[in-house]
Subunit: 316 residues, 6 copies
């Protein structure tokens, strides 16, 4: 507000605001009627990105109080901090849950009763899952420490590694996605995407001890399934090969269309794996590899090996 709300000493110009406001209203109105959206009753009906950003920050600080919490925290008050912070974050999450459920019911023309109870159930279950979530995240932190020769301590990993930030967000988002808050979940994912360049769809299932190094440009699609002890480098894509559409051209939504990556797989930077293929347990996928079919457990795939195969077997 302040930065631009300054006294403009010398500005008698007219912007024709009345006209522009009217034209913008017409544009909104046209859009609403074109997209068949009913007028909203009363206030805003969508979750708020900014509120969700604060909720996630608080949850992260409650999960790792001495690392991600406030600077002045001491062990004597750790539990107090955790309890207070959780309550504040969960109450705020409850509001966002209500907003999404109501919005979603209206979009589908469904009745709105029962929303409050469902919102409370979702948040209560999420709260109870936090201790387990923390343990999963501990496994991720350890995997990062063990997987990067430049890492000096688990604390450095937790404070600095964008891959760790991304997985903290993802594990929260994934829980909420499955619990029925896909929009809140997606906002959480995009917060991580913006901060790290790592784009994990909240629908993706990811096992423990997961590590993404560097991370910029990583894309993991909605229906991807990733096992335990998997390691991924920057610019790796686990994407869809092509979208199928129905006879009216509408895309089929929700179909399994992204890879399954089994336990202990390593995928090096820039590799692209597309479609519902399976990367067998313990495989290594080399940098920049372009892969659209399954490989058996223990495979070592590199650009060279692929070209060899292409030469042997005709182009893919």
């Amino acid at each position: 507000m302040h930065e631009i709300g300054k006294q403009n000493e010398n500005n008698p110009v007219s912007w024709q605001l009345e006209r522009i406001v009217e034209e913008l209203r017409a544009a909104r109105s046209e859009w609403r009627s074109r997209s068949g959206r009913p007028r909203e009753q009363g206030g805003r009906e969508l979750p708020s990105r900014r509120s969700i950003e604060e909720i996630v920050e608080r949850l992260a600080s409650a999960l790792f109080p001495m690392r991600l919490g406030p600077n002045d925290l001491r062990e004597e008050s750790e539990d107090f901090f955790v309890g207070r912070t959780l309550d504040s974050a969960l109450n705020a999450l409850l509001i966002q849950a209500r907003l999404e459920l109501r919005y979603s019911a209206r979009q589908r023309g469904e009745p709105e009763d029962g929303i409050e109870a469902r919102a409370q159930d979702i948040v209560r279950d999420f709260a109870l899952a936090l201790p387990l979530l923390r343990q999963l995240l501990d496994s991720d932190v350890l995997a990062a420490y063990q997987g990067d020769p430049a890492a000096r301590s688990v604390d450095e990993v937790l404070l600095c590694y964008p891959g760790v930030l991304a997985i903290i967000h993802h594990r929260m988002a994934h829980h909420l996605y499955r619990a029925g808050l896909p929009l809140v979940a997606r906002i959480i994912s995009e917060l991580a995407h913006s901060a790290t360049g790592i784009d994990i769809h909240p629908g993706a299932q990811i096992g423990g001890s997961f590590f993404i190094d560097h991370g910029t440009g990583v894309v993991i699609g909605e229906t991807a399934i990733i096992g335990e002890q998997v390691r991924i480098y920057q610019a790796v894509t686990l994407g869809a090969k092509r979208f199928t559409a129905d006879e009216t051209g509408q895309l089929h939504k929700g179909q399994p269309r992204h890879p399954i990556v089994e336990d202990e797989v390593v995928i090096y930077a820039g590799a692209t794996i597309l479609g519902r293929v399976t990367i067998g347990k313990g495989s290594t996928i080399g940098g920049n590899v372009w892969l659209t079919r399954s490989v058996p457990p223990g495979s070592q795939i590199s650009q060279a090996s692929l070209q060899q195969q292409a030469g042997d077997a005709g182009l893919d």
Copy 2:
């Protein structure tokens, strides 16, 4: 301020500030004389990144009040909000416009009279263009919704998709770039770049219904021209092949050197298209493709097809 402005209880050390300040002044002075820059008269003469960030946020909230505006906005006061927010943003933009025009005049040794009138003209025209800009953005949002099977609603797209954030910034930046504020425009572009990893030069011309999915690593160059209904995935580059320089080694600036992408083209992740080539209407460019020549309308280009051609015709 506060975070670090704390009482340092125990710090009698001397930093030799006098000496360092003096050496830094000498360094600035050398730089100014080496780059032939006149001493500035009075205050700072450049636009402010932080002010522009606030201006863009306000404009975006005036364009999409119930989606990007404040949480407590209600329909009854939508127009009031739009009018007030526009006025505040436009007045602030006027200040930035003045700063850039004056700076630019001084850099070129041109007279400074007429700057106020020009600044007002630029901002007034920009204001009047906003309704049209909103309609273009509506087409982009719709294209995103229709182009991504994971998208559940147009609202999710508007709230979450980095590609939508990038195009909102770009359409504002492009208008201002053409109107004579390339520096303000560039700052707007870089704000989007930082938040999304999508780097669109404000000079690029982009038609309606444009959609970038995931987006991290996309680069679109200054003289690129993109048609209607184009879809682009992460890590796509529309770049320059090589720069030409004059006999003194100075690069030629402003020459058309980036691709023309015609209507309804799809370019998959990681594809690199370089130089003033044309991608014909309705073509599909596969993932990771490296392309430095034009392709006719309706082409289906993949790595495999390129290698085939290379094998047929000799290497590019």
Copy 3:
């Protein structure tokens, strides 16, 4: 705080906070015992990301006061601003230095005396190096201006280019890394990584007149060595080929394992160079090239030329 700290008018639900707090304490406790970490005495012992962010912002504004300093700065008070800002930033840095040194001593079970003196030495040396650092950065800004045909002025480069932001952070981080504050240094690097998508390990040695264009996805490893006048584009990786581990599976840490790039080399977008190889002076590495061996000075490497060689000599 405020955004989510609102009055929740209607929320008699219980979150079972006592139980969750207890389970989280158990999880922390298990983690601490598993990772062999002693209980912390008193307060937090790690540097603070947020404090370091403010320190770096202040140092940058002291280095480039009329460009990155406050909007209302005028030449008459430039030196005052520089002196005051430096003092404030250096005092804050001293606190972070103390925290890292103490943390590090405890991790290794070393005595903590001498830490205060060492912290002061590190910060004092850093302060005295700032004028030289500014000169190096001036060479970087000039290189960016000369290397990009879209750049209109050195000021635009300084205000807008993510590559410049990244190198400002890196040059500070690298000094502190060598001085014995690798964790503070790493936090500085990650701040730049998050803002720009450019991931330079603070250990990397980089000569003057360095320019990264666009930058998203660039990764430069810990032991990389880069000469003068080098230019790099987006998504370039200077990485390690493979990690060596000792007989227990522990990775060897700190071994030279990233490329040496000699003076005047240009590396185009998407190129990947892995391992302790040397790119000879004046070479050009083409876009998307995958390179795991040294090339002599003056080489012109492209995908095509590599495939040619591969055809000639057998696959790599």
Copy 4:
């Protein structure tokens, strides 16, 4: 938060927090049981001083947009600002109204249905009364300008005079007090009291063209009635003489017990008028006068004249 939320580098002391928290809980519990208060269900049930402070600031800026509104406001967007600001303030007031009505119903054990409708009615009526309220305030501003030889313009009066600030607060508070929100009203009064030292109970009835000069120490009681064109100076008290109690010692609440001041009366600094007495139209009450009985219209009361009377008639 930040100012004190700093890293406390050296603080291994224990505060015995568990014990203190427990003792404080016991103290709260004792208080609640002693004052017969039921446990609150869910969250906080009282209006918020800080929210009300913001509401009043916004309403004041909507009433006097070019004087008390934001610095960058221009006439072209005055109405937009007023509409947007009113909406935001009224919505926030609705929340406070709900909180007070619900709290009040619970205190009295009354049913809570109908609260929402009543809250909306109160706020809607208040909103519709704002134009009239502005006109009353205009008369107050004019009275101040005309009544003080040091005043140079009506704008100075509006910007600077604490008496004007107090009457702006009072006129809002009085409306809400009568409408059934005495607690919200009282909070508004105390905000003015704290800022100006002028303590007007929201129940007091005050006619137009009212002016308090200097103001510190003025006290006007709950049942006082003040006519048109009245002028009051600092440290004037319009108080109650004594309180009457019932046989159990409970004070009678709400009885008329403060003075009636008729039109065009002037009361000089430090005068104290106690009890349900009437100061007749056009009277002047001198500085430091102590008055506990009615005086007819046109009276000129001074300390000297009172002592004269006392000498004549025996002590009061």
Copy 5:
């Protein structure tokens, strides 16, 4: 903004904003025409209370850097801090000066050229007077320390005493009042009045070593003249006896109408001195005394002595 800008989940009520906005516009319009005010051209034309508050805080911290400056200030950077802070405050003051001069010219229908030069002259002179002002304030601090048996150190006095805060504000305000910025000056005075309950008109002339103890309720009028070494307690009034008006009922403005208090006078709590009377050097005026005539040097005036005199000489 945030505190009340929350999502109002359930508010479909209409406030009839259009109607209220219109009626408020009508009210403003009527007021403007009644008070003969021309429509303002462009933006706001009055100084800003909030800006002035920040300016005064900065000036105070530049005057007493180690006492009123930032917590982390150290002696090594004291001068840097002072220089930077002064520049920032003076530049901001220049804007306020311009606003008042332009406003004032328009009010009087005078030409506006020359305003810029006059504003700069005023601020430049003010800046040059600051060192002298600091010395005067040092004498005030010392007087407070010496005059209060509860004072433990000069630092306590500077940090805690409201009388010192009031005189810091007054000495700045008085300079600006005389220099031609009475409105800016008055705003400064009212800032102190609100914080301390001490109301000194900026026109009052006050000599060195001035001390007000406790202070609440003190009022010192526009034309009061106070000598050296004067001490005043809470609730003292140095006011006007009555206002004279011309034949049209307009008050005469600017006439000398407040007391002259000579050197070394002490005035105890609650005393009221009215009119252009002179309190002779070294006099003591007792608590609650009501005085409307001059007293010779060395007088000891108490309530008792006054009543004695009244008995002797007839009532005043």
Copy 6:
């Protein structure tokens, strides 16, 4: 910062900062040498008003969590909030305690060892006293509710009454004053004084169930002693009659010089009681009474009765 840190577009004026900075340095230097103060080693050595303000706010919210705590607090997390808030406030208080003790030792030329232990002792004792302090404050709230016919509930009293705010501050300040932190205590008192106009010296001893109504202008001196169930109105002074000085003119500091007010006394508005006199149990002192001698238990003192006595017995 922002409000005034704006771009000053047109300000090439020079303020002669070098000269002013130098003159200010000279003025500081003169002051330091005149007041015999040693140069400070390193940083600021005095407690910070702003930090103390936050500490007091936090302590108050920990004492009355559901009334003065954050809006979103719920009973389930009350204890967590209390524990966390106490820890944060106590740690911050420890820093202020250290600063005052060190400052005080240096002022007196005493050794600084033992300061850390003493600071911890003071804060620990203070923390343990908080539950008792809360009970005392409960008695004050109840006394206010019972003593004011306009009070509708104890909650209104706690939220709105300035007298309650003042006594919350005083009870904290008094504890710290006795514990050896008179400067921190004084700052706390002045915070309340500024907000309420009630000036209670932290040295004053005040029994339970204490109530100040309205409060503006109340002054209670350092050595005053007040019993249980005392009620006081606005503008009451419990002051010193005269100060005694030693032969050098130095005031005697710390002597008992303010009134003793026994249990169940009521003192009405504007009464002034000066000197070490005793107001006997159950007495009532009328408004504006001026009293400089003791009165026996059960006295009813009014202006009239005093004048009667004066007439009877000669003037006081």
